[in-house]
Symmetry: C2
Subunit: 360 residues, 2 copies
């Protein structure tokens, strides 16, 4: 592999195996219609040639219908209760679950019972036990399950992984990844939002955004954590239940250490850099949507920066999922992949309490 | 303070208090004439209007004389033995100690006995005990002692500190600093060099380069570490005695966590970034000499990058030291400041063994 090919392959869908015209679009029931679903997920499903948003699911039929009416190709809006009762089950082939983390399991269970493919937002559940149960309910009904890690189909991340795989930076030595935002000031000022509720979310900054550097490091290195240590910090009353800021170190095989930091109370910033014996590859900005990404590769005496075309990350993710389901192919960020993050994140919290390293 | 003033003050010597023409130059005996002394320190002393390199000190008189002959303004070359005997003591006012770490103490002791001001390379000694002894020998003779942290007079670092002090990035939340190089491939291939000898160096990558992010973070935050955890890694046989790579997390007051990483076996790279509630300030490249530094400040919706003029860091450092000595003013990176790093670094090694956090 030559570095030029990073530019050449650029944003190509190296994973695509089926042509849109050769298959029926994958029809989605979209469960949970908060801001992210309305502004990011539904527009991508409307845009897609491989998917269709046919059903919206929310707390009341009225609310679901109201959103469905604004969405091209949507046919029905139903309540969560109706969803569990199988209403309109013939109108969709898959569900996209975008609810508070601790509600992923019940919707996944119902979806699996009706034989639907499951695309579940990350983190997959609030704890390891419920995450494993989520895997089980899908396995029992033999339905496909993908955890919605949109960085896996982000071209900058895929190119970074190719660079690491091709040993263009030598052997990885150290990783640093960080993601921060002002949750209360810039995103949602409500101190009662579910992201601040440990029962519903499972954790704070780490569960919500810290898993981006954690999971993307796993994806690029192609390895899973061996041990972790971390510390958390909360300064706002709103964060008395969950971590406002987290800093953790993850040990990967061959003693490669990755430092991941995240904060819900720091200026928006996101970065990922892998330093190797021969070079360094960095993605900056790394994790927020709707940004143009640059890939910086240092090697020898030089540094090459590639500005990649911006893709709609949700469109890439939905299409990848549809491609896998329609071609009956294995899905990479599956349940077993997702549960590793939940385990690691819970271990970080335990290590923060005990002030020690925890082996996974 | 406005951001413009960062550009305006730029590389100005905000610390300078005496005019070169108002004082006698500070005459230096330079102890240890390895590559760094010959290529970095001596040229700066020759260039300086506040300093003069009058005496060189090495293993043999011949070697010292040979170097002295090539240095403008140098008057004598003497052996270490002659130095201890006070030969040519009337030819210098101060000593610059640039020997293996574990030899700093004996030369500082002799210098202090002859009433000379001491500028001692960092880390100040191989362990905390010897570092404290070094402070004592200078205190007893009432001679000035400075530890040679050249980042304290690096304009990019001073401007970053002003930005943090003025709360232009809000409250600091997180710090990341990193420094890496290929020691054996690019700097010195000798597996028997003192930097790889724990007895002489005190430690490996952490002691040699990891203290740059550690100490510069302390300088910019204006705080000292409270607790540390870290892990080390060695893959080369040459590093069987000391750490080849280190990753550590340093707790500062108010639970601000700084991650510092360093490697003697990774591509040359150095960076420092402080993320606050309102913004971020980053220096990149940060720590290697003879590079043009850029200061990147993110705030609100924008990012400002300032490329600062390159300064001769050794010249700034020597002149600062001479300025303090000649004006009888307090010196900031003094012995008490230096010993904090040695303590913290030794605690990182202990924490790596015990796999826990160590409170300082």
């Amino acid at each position: 592999m030559e570095l030029e090919s990073v530019l050449d392959s650029g944003c190509s869908r190296d994973w695509q195996s089926v042509a849109p015209e050769a298959v029926d679009p994958l029809r989605f029931a979209v469960v949970g219609i908060g801001w992210f679903t309305r502004e990011r997920a539904l527009p991508a499903l409307v845009e897609s040639e491989l998917c269709e948003p046919t059903v919206t699911v929310s707390s009341t039929t009225e609310k679901a219908e109201r959103v469905a009416e604004t969405v091209d190709r949507a046919e029905r809006g139903i309540s969560y209760e109706q969803f569990h009762d199988g209403v309109a089950a013939d109108r969709y082939d898959a569900v996209y679950i975008c609810t508070p983390n601790a509600l992923h399991l019940p919707y996944a269970r119902t979806a699996a019972q009706y034989g639907k493919a499951v695309l579940c937002e990350k983190p997959m559940e609030r704890d390891t036990e419920r995450s494993r149960e989520l895997i089980d309910v899908c396995d029992e009904q033999n339905v496909p399950l993908m955890i919605a890690y949109r960085m896996h189909t982000e071209p900058a991340v895929r190119r970074a992984r190719e660079i690491v795989d091709a040993e263009l930076i030598g052997e990885p030595v150290e990783v640093y990844g960080s993601m921060s935002q002002r949750l209360l000031d810039r995103i949602n000022p409500d101190p009662d939002q579910w992201r601040l509720d440990e029962e519903l979310a499972g954790g704070g900054a780490l569960f919500d955004i810290g898993l981006y550097p954690l999971n993307t490091t796993r994806f690029i290195l192609g390895d899973d954590p061996i041990a972790v240590t971390g510390r958390t910090r909360s300064t706002h009353d709103a964060f008395d239940d969950v971590d406002e800021t987290v800093s953790c170190t993850i040990e990967f095989p061959d003693e490669v250490f990755a430092t991941c930091t995240a904060s819900h109370n720091a200026r928006q910033s996101s970065t990922l850099r892998i330093t190797g014996t021969e070079g360094q590859v960095a993605i900056e900005p790394a994790f927020f949507q709707d940004q143009q990404r640059s890939l910086h590769v240092s090697r020898g005496d030089g540094r090459l920066s590639v500005a990649l075309e911006k893709v709609d990350q949700m469109l890439e993710e939905f299409d990848y999922f549809a491609d896998r389901v329609r071609s009956d192919a294995p899905i990479l960020p599956d349940g077993e992949h997702g549960v590793v993050d939940v385990e690691a994140m819970q271990a970080v919290y335990r290590s923060a309490e005990r002030r020690e390293w925890i082996t996974l």
